[in-house]
Symmetry: C2
Subunit: 510 residues, 2 copies
Amino acid sequence: MTEATARRRGGGGAARRAERTALRIECARFIERNIPDVDMLSDEVLDIVEVNAETVLEEIGVAFVENPAALERWRLAGADIEGERVRIPRGLARRLCATAPSRFTQHARNPERSVEIGGRSLVLAPVYGPPFVRGQGGGRRYATMEDFRTFVKLGYMSKWLHHSGGTVCEPTDIAVNKRHLDMLHAHMTLSDKPFMGSVTEPSRAADSVEMCEILFGGLNDRTVMTSLVNVNSPLTFDATMMGALEVYAAANQACIVSPFIVGGAMAPVSVAGTLTQVLAEVMAGVAYSQLVRPGAPVIFGAFVTSIDMNSGAPTFGTPEAAQITYGAGQLARRMGLPYRSAGAFTGSKLPDAQAAYETANSLNTGLLSGVNFMLHACGWLEGGLVASFEKFVMDADQLGVLHRLAAGVSADDEAQAMDALREVGPGGHYLGCAHTQRNFKDAFWRTELLDYKPYETWEEEGARDTAALASARVQRLLAEYREPEMDPSIRQALDEFVERKKASMADAFL
Amino acid sequence: MTEATARRRGGGGAARRAERTALRIECARFIERNIPDVDMLSDEVLDIVEVNAETVLEEIGVAFVENPAALERWRLAGADIEGERVRIPRGLARRLCATAPSRFTQHARNPERSVEIGGRSLVLAPVYGPPFVRGQGGGRRYATMEDFRTFVKLGYMSKWLHHSGGTVCEPTDIAVNKRHLDMLHAHMTLSDKPFMGSVTEPSRAADSVEMCEILFGGLNDRTVMTSLVNVNSPLTFDATMMGALEVYAAANQACIVSPFIVGGAMAPVSVAGTLTQVLAEVMAGVAYSQLVRPGAPVIFGAFVTSIDMNSGAPTFGTPEAAQITYGAGQLARRMGLPYRSAGAFTGSKLPDAQAAYETANSLNTGLLSGVNFMLHACGWLEGGLVASFEKFVMDADQLGVLHRLAAGVSADDEAQAMDALREVGPGGHYLGCAHTQRNFKDAFWRTELLDYKPYETWEEEGARDTAALASARVQRLLAEYREPEMDPSIRQALDEFVERKKASMADAFL
């Protein structure tokens, strides 16, 4: 039913109001793929990459910077330590990785929203990290906590988004040492979907765990956060990120160990070379998480873009990025680890055609390459510098396409439709036949955004482009937003925790 | 080298002029896939579809309308004829299809531009059929012969486009019974890429063959046209299209036998049901081409979209269309026939984000589903009602992505980049290392359209969106266009043929 027909059938204002009160916030279950993964790279190429990655770990090694405890863990495990360089004998890292689970549950406070990460699943989470926002009448501007809350609300209202994410934008109006408290508070109270913890300081990771203990009434080793631990590529693990990983692994919280690579800058300018480095980095990081706590949930991450060799700008939705995403997925499956990659990536400054080409290229690659956790699945703009309100709802709509594709194709009696073929025959049409009447409501994925109107209607309504339609949809979703219910005592405890923590520190903006 | 650096290095006006004179029109060779096809549907589903398609042919049959000769051919082949209904015994159609080649060459007048259709190849051709054009400062308006020529020139200048296509737009200012002559003349003289023949009347197909005999100095059974023969779905073969097919098959010219389906209207509202009908229709059409001339080159076509059940509008880039495209590709491979499907499809009225999402979804599906001939690979807008100048160059740029993806991933010594990994090590960067210096020029696909500039530069230059960048590119390509050389006697003979034919008929607009 379109909005227009809903309005007509609704009758009057009273009916419309009743409909709004009864509004149910829909949320799709995480995707369970019923389609094959695409093995884009040959086994021969993957074999070479695996051998070379072991050579990298053994001969070149990785650096664990300003982290004597990590060096000691590695020494005890059998690595060769020289200064901060850790050289890992062939096979050791992979053996250590074997205790990491191939699949785990991330619990949400609303149990219906809990997600499985690994195996055949695909969990979709929004954009992460932009210092700027764009849209809703304003141009590009620094993000604020109010913008952050708006994105959390949009995520909660987005049917195809399974996860509330983490730093959906950087709330630059809040002190750096306090903003994680406000961000977590927003995810916990404005949404009931699962979320990510802070990684900018080990103490902030500890705060995240503590707030989750309040929210969930104790954790008992349940995994309730999946957090993003970037590798400082090439081959470097800094103390901040590793400190956060140590806190999370110890508490059985999930981390994504994610090389952050602009190909040609942080990795070799070739697909096989980049995959070699990605694999070496992930093996070292995942192995380290298992040294902290064997069995801690962890994800094989790969954030990889190519580079424009003229301007040095990172480029998105490119074929080389797709090849690496496919290859890393194959490597992750060979290790039996959940896989994070892809997203609604683009280098464009606007939610225009470039943004959509690049995004669609990457979303399709993500689905087919076997990604289990897709961060940045909506809202990303301008190489990740900008979170866009309009692009958030545009991408979120396209995520419905992935759900439908992943479901695969049925050939049960009803899907075979032989009764329809017999009923209609040569030269007829199927619009009114019995099979169509039985099935049309669910036959096709339906956009909640894109324009399919007759040309004349579209023109009369202002000849709006996708960005204009998206702007209207953002307004509608925010107007319809209702905060999910929460036990008042938990809410009070969270409020007090944040207040107390904030009062205990002076503001710091570094 | 960007345009900007080219300009700087060029020095002055003289150098720039020299550069323009020396301009070489680049054209990529057709794609030979070095990547696996994606078998999205299970063998079990395909088995059912194949059994059901035979049941459709045997029990329901197909209609060959107003075509007694066709009915007689079918009767002689062993089909059961009742009125215009042709019921084909189980297995007969598939057996007849076996004489069709799995791969053929379509020759171009410039032998470097000849294409192989079938096997691992992918040949890209532009939009076909729109009565309207949009862009270049004007809104939506009826297409003219001048627009047609502009699109042929743009196609000739588009590096990633292998084929000049057919009715790139309908030249509505030329009489219906004469426009095929002008269209073919334009493809033959303004481009040297392969092209399509007329199918709107058997006599116009015969004109197309005759003009090709002039252009190529006799054909001697060489295939020099690939033409689009739509099935009047469901299950109906009309005399016009079949008449054209008869002319082409007899002359060993290739036809695409292409069900034209808006799912839910011309086929059942399910993927398996639609595939069943597609397969039945293609088998009947291909079999018929082999009755006309065993061995005639022919392509398994599938033009399939879903429908918006609210408005009745066809919808594009949807997951159900993708599933059908994948499934039809698998069915075509099981028959050993070349496959035509996918394209730069969209329902959007503008070259905006909707257009690009839908297009990218379909282009990616086309590559991965094993399409061998992709019509509509650039320029399509508004459900095929409109050919857009801007979208033509936007899509044509994205076709470069497909080339690169299709090439696959190398793991030779240079691609392994172990020297780079050893040279750089932890914490370094690869921008200046020897491996990067050796490889950066060809390391990554490069757009000739999209924006990667720094934010401030982009803003100073007018904060242009993709459509605005595309508009500038259209102007640049047309300014750089030079007609390919042609033997003056052939040119004269073509001119005279068109003139004579036109003079022989009164204008008809039906």
